[in-house]
C-alpha cells in the first residue's frame, strides 16, 4: 500500500483531485450563502448611517446599532433624501446608499466622474447630512459615516475597519474615540475646509475646544489615526461645494 501512495504520479493526481473537490465545495457554499451575506451588508449600511445621525441604541460606553429588524423602517423614517452628487450636479436616488465608495474613488483616480452619495436625515426638526468616506489604516481598509449640519459641523460619526489591530487601531470604532468628533468644525471661521486632525500633540485631551480641528489620538494607533484624518480630509472636502449651495 505504501508503494502506491508514495509514487509521484499518485501524489500529483491526489492533489489535483483534492483541489477540484474542495474548490467545488467552497464555490457551492459561497454562492448559496451570497444572497444572505449581501442582505446583511445592506442592513449594516443602513444601521451605520442611522448610527451617525444619532439613531442608535447606545448604552453606557458601548456603541449599539438599532436592530436589523427595525433598520429598514427607521431608515425610511429618518432619511428624507438620498442624493448623488456628480461633478456639481445633484440628483436624488434612493439607492445612493448602495454606492461603493471604494469603487468611486478608483473611478476618480483613473479619470472618471466620481459619484458622491449624501444622505439627508431629519431628527427632532434638525437636518443631518451624512457622507460615507473611505480610506486606509495600518493593515487594511477603514471607512466611516460622518453626519454634519449645514455648516459642516460634525453631528456624529461611525467609524469601522476591516482588520486594524485589536485593542489599538481597532478602537476607532469605540465610543470614546468616535464621540470626540461630535461638534468638531470641519471649516475654519473664514469658511475654508480644514478637516479634523487626529492629533498626538493635542493640548486638549478632553476635547473642550471644538474649533481646533483636532481630536485626541489613540496611543499606539498612529497609522490608523493618520488614516482617519486623511480620509476625512480627502473625502469630505469633495462635499464642500454642495454645502456652500445650502447657504
Amino acid at each position: 500500500m505504501s508503494n502506491k501512495t508514495d509514487s509521484n504520479v499518485y501524489t500529483v493526481l491526489f492533489a489535483i483531485g483534492m483541489v477540484v473537490v474542495v474548490g467545488a465545495l467552497l464555490a457551492f457554499t459561497a454562492s448559496s450563502l451570497k444572497e444572505r451575506i449581501t442582505e446583511n451588508k445592506r442592513l449594516e449600511k443602513q444601521q451605520n448611517i442611522l448610527y451617525a445621525m444619532g439613531v442608535n441604541e447606545n448604552e453606557g460606553n458601548s456603541a449599539n446599532f438599532v436592530s436589523t429588524e427595525k433598520a429598514p423602517e427607521l431608515f425610511n423614517k429618518y432619511i428624507k433624501k438620498q442624493l448623488v452628487i456628480t461633478d456639481g450636479n445633484v440628483e436624488e436616488n434612493d439607492k445612493a446608499y448602495l454606492i461603493d465608495v471604494k469603487k468611486e474613488q478608483d473611478k476618480a483616480k483613473s479619470g472618471g466622474e466620481r459619484q458622491l452619495p449624501l444622505f439627508v436625515g431629519e431628527k427632532d426638526g434638525k437636518n443631518f447630512y451624512i457622507a460615507p468616506i473611505y480610506g486606509k489604516g495600518l493593515w487594511d481598509a477603514i471607512w466611516a459615516y460622518v453626519a454634519m449640519d449645514e455648516n459642516m459641523v460634525v453631528q456624529g460619526a461611525y467609524f469601522d475597519h476591516k482588520g486594524e489591530t485589536p485593542g489599538l487601531g481597532a478602537n476607532i470604532k469605540e465610543r470614546f474615540f468616535m464621540d470626540d468628533f461630535y461638534g468638531e468644525h470641519l471649516l475654519t471661521e473664514a469658511g475654508v475646509f480644514k478637516g479634523i486632525n487626529v492629533s498626538k500633540s493635542n493640548a486638549d485631551p478632553t476635547n473642550e475646544d471644538k474649533t481646533d480641528h483636532e481630536v485626541d489620538a489613540i496611543a499606539g494607533a498612529t497609522i490608523t489615526g493618520d488614516g482617519v484624518a486623511a480620509m476625512i480630509k480627502n473625502d469630505l472636502a469633495l462635499y464642500v461645494p454642495y454645502f456652500k449651495t445650502l447657504k
Binding site: M1, S2, T5, D6, Y10, T11, F14, A15, M18, V19, V22, L25, L26, T29, A30, L33, R36, I37, N40, K41, E44, G60, N61, S62, T68, K162, G163, P166, G167
Partner: protein
C-alpha cells in the same frame, strides 16, 4: 455506557481534565489569549472549533489510507482551511455582527495548533468513530478553558457577563461600584489572559500532582 466503551469515553473526558489541550499540552494558546475578552466571543470560538475539529478529524480519518504521505500536512491544512472558510461564510450569513467581532480570529482557527496536532497525532491512525470522539473531546477541552478565561476576563474587566451588567453600573455607581469597586481594565488586555491560564494550570497541577513535570 452503552454507546461508548470505556476506552472511547476516555477520548472525550481526558482532554477535559488531565490531558487538556491548553493547560497540559499547551496548544492553542494564541487564540485563548486573543478572543477571550468577552464571554460571547469565547463561546462562539469554542463552537466553531468544535465543528472544525469534529468534522475535520472524521474527514482526515476517512481518507487516512489514501493520503500520499509526502503531502499529508498540505492535505490536512487544506481540510482545515476549507472547513474554516465554511464556518466563516455561515457566520457571515447567519450571525453577521458576531462574525465582525470575531473577524480575523475565525481565519486564525486554521493556525490553531490543536487541530493540526490532533489530525497528525490521532486521526491519521484511528477509525472514524474514535477520531470523531477525539476531535469533540479536544475541542471541548479547549472550549472549557476558553469559557473559563472569558468568564473571568469579562466579569472583572467590564463588570458584565454576555454583555449584561452583573455588578451594577460603573457610571451611576450602583451595586458593587457604590462601595468603591472598579473594573480592572487590565483584564481586557491579552497578558491577563495568559495569567488567568497560568492560574488554571497552577490550580490543576496542585490538585493532581501527577501532572507536574520534573
Amino acid at each position: 455506557m452503552g454507546l461508548l466503551s470505556k476506552k472511547d469515553a476516555a477520548l472525550i473526558t481526558d482532554p477535559l481534565a488531565d490531558n487538556n489541550p491548553i493547560t497540559i499540552q499547551v496548544l492553542g494558546i494564541c487564540s485563548a489569549l486573543a478572543i477571550t475578552a468577552q464571554l460571547k466571543a469565547s463561546i462562539v470560538m469554542a463552537i466553531s472549533v468544535l465543528f472544525v475539529m469534529g468534522v475535520g478529524n472524521v474527514v482526515i480519518s476517512a481518507i487516512r489510507n489514501i493520503i500520499p504521505s509526502k503531502i499529508r500536512i498540505i492535505v490536512q491544512l487544506t481540510v482545515v482551511a476549507a472547513l474554516v472558510i465554511i464556518v466563516d461564510q455561515v457566520l457571515k450569513a447567519f450571525a453577521y455582527e458576531l462574525s465582525k467581532e470575531l473577524s480575523v480570529f475565525v481565519g486564525l482557527i486554521i493556525t490553531n495548533c490543536i487541530i493540526m496536532g490532533r489530525f497528525e497525532a490521532f486521526a491519521l491512525g484511528n477509525g472514524l468513530w474514535r477520531s470523531f470522539l477525539d476531535g469533540i473531546g479536544n475541542a471541548l477541552g479547549y472550549g472549557v478553558i476558553l469559557i473559563i478565561v472569558g468568564f473571568f476576563r469579562e466579569l472583572l474587566g467590564s463588570g458584565t457577563l454576555l454583555g449584561f451588567p452583573v455588578l451594577g453600573d460603573p457610571i451611576a455607581k450602583t451595586g458593587l461600584y457604590s462601595i468603591g469597586y472598579e473594573n480592572n481594565g487590565f483584564m481586557l488586555l491579552s497578558p491577563m489572559a495568559l495569567i488567568v491560564v497560568g492560574i488554571i494550570i497552577w490550580v490543576q497541577r496542585t490538585r493532581n500532582k501527577a501532572l507536574i513535570e520534573d
